[in-house]
């Protein structure tokens, strides 16, 4: 009954009640709107902080270029350019006090592993080669025409049945068999004079001769070693240290132990087994791999390797989904990886192809013994977003990724290729937003940077973060303004509906109301008005948040879209800057991250307002109650 009377008295001053209803509703709306926007922009910032990574790539640039021009009867002048590098730059030189790396620089080699049980997910480009013994039907005379030779023994060929046999000119390269007579180009490819009737061995490959306009066979690189030491110097202990075209005469004891025939047999074995070679990449985190950083490679099944696994060197690995599918491998399966040798600075496109110019024979002409063998558990599979595109360039076909620390042995004696660090093999991670300060510190602390090209890629973090921080500041202003408005409205509300009701309380006290009844009489009306306006304000604020949020999504740089059909509908996307991005091209790069509407705020804010109003109004009513009613009620008389 008291509550009813209280409300009745409130409604008897409709203009005042309506005014406060509107003011309270508007300020609650502002408060809710600001709070929700603040919460959402804070979530977006947190999402961006975890979503964005700032990665630097390092490439040692050549100090000069050497151009060689070789006259070639068949193909005219052959011009070759090769880069000359200064002293090999080690990633350790990039460590300096205050570097504050999240992930320090790493130089990732490709490890070559031999997995005869596994199949490659797709065939790679194939440079046809055949190892044969042959007998010239005439002496080579140094003339520019080919000489005919007859095949006496075929040791190896890599011509695939599925491979197209005709070249661009309609010439067919056949799988050479004993008795076949073929033209051997002597213009540029026969390193030693050949005598008719003698038997020779070489690797031959069919090449179209521009001079004679026919298919002739070239002598290809013979058995050799490409072993390097830890800083890239050639290891030369007498075995063929360079890639040279070789023709060896086959004598009676040619294949006996210690003679050159053994080199050829190993070479044939190497060539024959190359289809079972796979590449393995050690890393301290896949975030450092350009393809993963640029989101050109993504996890498909299972999980990523954890930070703990990277740190502890757990025997876990990631494999490509196509490799897993081809070999019926699943997450949880284990594969044994004998690591034969390491290729530094090598091209991902050549690492497993027949164009490969590294040798699995060490400087002593022996196969590399695995420097590390362990059984690795597959914890996840990845895929390239565009399988044909090859990612950013470092993801070799069927590449297996392992934690660097999982390799417990030195690769020092098993380096089969060494090129200086490049942008695909060397990278590091620094905190977001630190590019300029890091770069300045780097240039102040590290010498020899002139031979390095360092690129930073934050995937647009700077621009996105500026945009998000602006949004959050705006939300903070709105929230603060809402808070001030609410405070002012509450103050006015309590002044007019509580403080100025001293006399009413005094009358009620004089009539015999208990103190509790006096409190209920005053506070219930105020709370009812505040409750209705807080609810209406919250509902309107929530609606406004949805409307404005939706509008912002379509117009601002921080927007709401979805990128891929297999991912949950996203709520944040961002246009990325290209200032520090290698990968952001002409189009906006869109990223997804969840932003939840803070539903709790829709309850918390009105509840807090009501609580504040309740507490303050009770305090004020208590003050009113403490005033002697007679003093108030008889004041006019006195």
């Amino acid at each position: 009954m008291i509550v009813k009377k209280s409300l009745r008295q409130l409604l008897r001053t409709p203009l005042r009640a309506a005014l406060f209803f509107l003011l309270m509703t508007a300020s609650t709306l502002l408060l809710v709107f600001g709070a929700v926007l603040f919460s959402q922009s804070t979530q977006r910032i947190a999402a961006a902080e975890s979503e964005f990574e700032t990665v630097g790539t390092v490439e040692q640039v050549p100090i000069d270029t050497r151009v060689t021009v070789t006259p070639d009867v068949c193909q005219g002048l052959i011009t070759r350019a090769s880069d000359i590098y200064g002293e090999t730059f080690s990633v350790d030189q990039l460590d300096f006090p205050g570097a504050n790396y999240i992930l320090p620089p790493e130089n990732r080699p490709y490890y070559v592993t031999y997995l005869p049980e596994m199949k490659r997910s797709r065939e790679l480009g194939n440079y046809r080669r055949q190892i044969v013994e042959f007998t010239p039907l005439e002496d080579t005379d140094g003339d520019d025409g080919p000489v005919e030779v007859q095949i006496t023994k075929a040791l190896f060929n890599n011509i695939r049945p599925s491979q197209k046999s005709e070249n661009h000119w309609g010439e067919s390269e056949i799988s050479l068999q004993e008795g076949d007579v073929i033209p051997l180009c002597q213009c540029r490819t026969v390193p030693t004079p050949l005598k008719a009737g003698k038997t020779y061995i070489a690797i031959l490959s069919g090449v179209h001769c521009e001079t004679h306009f026919c298919l002739e066979y070239d002598v290809f690189t013979g058995p050799h070693s490409t072993q390097r030491d830890a800083v890239g110097n050639t290891v030369n202990v007498g075995y063929y240290p360079e890639r040279t075209r070789r023709v060896d005469e086959v004598t009676a004891d040619f294949y006996e132990e210690g003679n050159r025939g053994q080199d050829w047999l190993k070479w044939a074995d190497f060539q024959g087994s190359s289809g079972s070679l796979f590449s393995v990449m050690p890393t301290n985190n896949i975030r450092l791999l350009p393809s993963f950083h640029a989101k050109l490679a993504r996890m498909k099944d299972g999980r990523e390797i954890t930070e703990e696994e990277y740190a502890s060197g757990a025997a876990v690995c990631l494999v490509s989904s196509s490799f897993a599918q081809t070999n019926l491998l699943r997450v949880g399966d284990k594969i044994e990886l004998p690591l034969l040798c390491a290729l530094y600075g090598y091209s991902s496109y050549q690492v497993l192809s027949s164009y490969a110019d590294y040798s699995l024979l060490n400087a002593e002409g022996e196969y590399y013994e695995p420097f590390w063998t362990a059984e690795y558990e597959i914890v996840g599979t990845y895929r390239l977003v565009n399988e044909g595109g090859g990612g950013a360039g470092e993801i070799a076909n069927d590449l297996i990724i392992i934690p660097s620390a999982s390799v417990g042995a030195s690769v020092e004696n098993n380096i089969a290729y060494f090129d200086p660090i490049n942008a695909l093999s060397c990278s590091f991670q620094i905190p977001n937003g630190m590019i300029d300060s890091f770069d300045t510190a780097l240039r102040e602390n590290v010498e020899g940077l002139e031979q390095l090209e360092i690129r930073y890629d934050d995937r647009g973090y700077s621009d996105v973060m500026n945009s998000l921080l602006n949004a959050r500041n705006t939300a903070m202003l709105l929230f603060a303004f809402g808070l001030l408005s609410v405070a002012a409205v509450i103050a006015l509300l309590l002044y007019f509906f509580v403080v100025k009701e001293k006399k009413r309380t005094a009358i009620e006290r004089a009539l015999g109301f208990t103190k509790r009844q006096c409190r209920i009489s005053i506070v219930s009306g105020v709370l009812a008005l505040a409750l209705v306006s807080a609810i209406v304000g919250t509902v309107l604020g929530a609606a406004l948040t949805g409307t404005v949020g939706g509008a912002a999504a379509s117009s601002e740089s921080v927007s709401i879209t979805s990128e891929t059909e297999e991912e949950a509908p996203a709520t944040v996307s961002a246009r990325f800057s290209r200032k520090y991005s290698l990968w952001a091209g002409n189009e906006s790069f869109v990223e997804n991250s969840e932003v939840e509407t803070p539903v709790a705020l829709f309850f918390l804010i009105p509840a807090s307002l009501l609580l504040v109003i309740l507490c303050v109004s009770v305090v004020l009513v208590n003050r009113n109650i403490r005033i002697d009613p007679v003093y108030l009620l008889s004041r006019d008389a006195n």
Partner: protein, 225 residues
Amino acid sequence: MSQISAQNVSFVYQSKYQQVQALTDVTCDFEEGKFYAIVGQSGSGKTTLLSMLAGLGAPTQGEVLVDGVPVTAADSEKHRRDNVSVIYQSFNLFPALNLLENVMYPMFLHGVPEKEAKPRAKELLDAVGLSEVDVRKLPSMLSGGQQQRVAIARALASEARVLLADEPTGNLDSENGQLIIDLLHRLVREKQYCVIVVTHDLNIAAGADIVYRMRDGRLTREASA
């Protein structure tokens, strides 16, 4: 029969700078069916005594008794609800409630349902001479005399037998003032109420059955007019 009395009531309060002895050893009795006037200069302690009798303040010493039973701080609210009603110079009606609602207000405290309270309130308004006035009007729409009549009707609604009136005619012209005094006298005569009027008006005091004079917090009884 003594209905309400003050026994050796003293009251001291602390003002900003000093202790003030508002009442000193006040003893008095008020009976049903009599009209009392308490006169005295401003600041003499009249209103303070009224406050003590109404249970709105607790004496520093002494006690207020109703039918011989002391009024304690714990039951002062019940005392105000059941035993006394106060009428003020400035009427002190609820400005946001209409006449009927103002009169019905004390009835709710006694748990009288609205269905019963409404005709009773109308009766009371008729009794104080407001039968011609629209009961849905707000107090501000009435004259001062009419508002004071509503205040008296509200005082009667509580069914208390003691009416304490603090300068009830102070804001009224003499004609309306006299009408209110007449009304109070009628209540004494016809309904046997005990009416205690605090006033400066010697004419009102002259019509009282018993006159008390307050001077410097001390009360003395004067001879009846």
